[in-house]
Amino acid sequence: MTDETLSALALSVRVAVLATLANAFVGIPLAYVLARRRFRGRALLDLLVTLPLVLPPTVTGYYLIVLLGRRGWLGAPVYAATGWSIAFTWYAAVVAATVMALPLLVRTARAAIESVDRDLEKAAWTLGRSEWRTALEVTLPLARNGILAGLVLAFARALGEFGATLMLAGNIPGRTTTVPLAIYTAVQTGEETMALALVAILTVLSCLVLVVAGRLGARAA
């Protein structure tokens, strides 16, 4: 394997792992709140989180540029203050993968949390547990398999992310070129063997992920 192939693989795994971690920190609380709390703006939050699932990835990427790019709402002040921008760095690939994977985790985890019998939570409250401790000791452990299945799906989505990553992180060999981008480049430049090898690797990984997620899902049901 060439250095470029290896670096694309290493970057993809690093991006997918970090994006999955970010998903766990943001997505699980989000899923809990959407499943259990009633508040103003809940429908809007739900819509925002779910949107990347149905929008073309390039559109999501475009919004990310508008938000985080050098002239973006958040990106401009950061660039003005530090001279640094997240655009076209590998961090941008993590952000793009996180946003694209979030709806998969949130939807799966939310369904799992909603399926936990509310009487169990009420029982915990009457036995002295705060809502926060009840979530940690009762709700989330009982929704565990659904949440894990959601994380596995999020990992797979992050590993295969193409469109939004290309928009925000670009396709800089050795720096922001993940496996899906490397496959695109290889096909464009006629490097059939490399394309085939990377395609095979992604296919096998995705199959594995589906099997694992399926088993977790079956245990959750």
Binding site: L120, T126, L142
Partner: protein
Amino acid sequence: MSARLEVRLVKRLPGFTLDAQWSADGGVAALFGPSGAGKTLTLSCMAGLLRPDAGRIVVDGRVLFDAAAGVDVPPQARRVGYVFQGYALFPHRTVAENVGFGLRDRPRAERERRVAEVVTRLGLGGFERRHPSELSGGQRQRVALGRALAIDPALLLLDEPLSALDAPLRAALRNDLRAILSEWGTAAVVVTHDFSEAYRLGDRIVVYDHGRVVQSAPRAELLWQPASEAVARIMDIPNVLHGTVVKATPDRIQLRWRGQLLEAVNSPTRSYLPPPESPLAFFIRPEYVRLIRKDRGPADPGHHMNLMTGTVVADEDFGTTWTLRIRLDHPGPPAQGDYDLQVEVPHLVYEILEIDRDRHWEFSIHRGSIHVLPA
């Protein structure tokens, strides 16, 4: 008021309003009524799981909720044990962990001692390490009871505690539950839609209908003196009938019904005195109607009161008793569809009198067995 339990609640929900008030002196209060009457809603409010719009809840002098004074103790601090319908045991925790769940703040040694004590007292010894899925229905019920009792609650709430069980088990566990409740002596509120369950478990029965309390009374009083026709119907009492008052005195009420002049005992505690010619609801317990044996000579009006004659138009075998539907000889439409009275006789009586063959009977009802229902 020195009652141990005072409940006054108003809760408005879309399409339903709970407006209930009752009190009880310790022991077990059974909330009884059809489903959807607001019984479980009352429990939720008492446990602090649902906030009433108005009212006051006091347990042993401790105010748990008082809308006017702005008091609303959170469920975590109420010390109210709740046994949920279906028990709501934590499936990922063992029996011992379930029972000890509410004791987290206590020192470890004390917690273990308390769990061991509760497990032993409820006959769950040897099951400590099992998970709820590995228990029978009756054992689950006891774990749920143990979990609620372990925190030494000021009040125990039980929502349809027997409805998750099969019928044969239900009868046996009803007695177990009664024994456990009286042994622990904790004031308790039991919700049920089954009158025999309410009667067996409750010292006091609070009858709910459409979000209101229609009667609250010691169980024996309720059985013999339902406060109104509505209560009698909720209790599913047979033979609730409508007559006309002839004369009412504090001891007796004379009434006209289906061409008969009936005499009933007036309730000694409430001596209801409706004016003559006013409509009056009453009920006759089917097991208190006496068929007059034909082989012992004619009925004696001095001994047999409220004499009538009629024909058995239908009968049903309930194993130990027969239920007969009798249509009076008096012309005109029968009081209850195609019959006037439902009568219950033991199997032995049915066989001796050969009721399957002989359908026309004279019968009498003692005045004490005709119960007047105030309007």
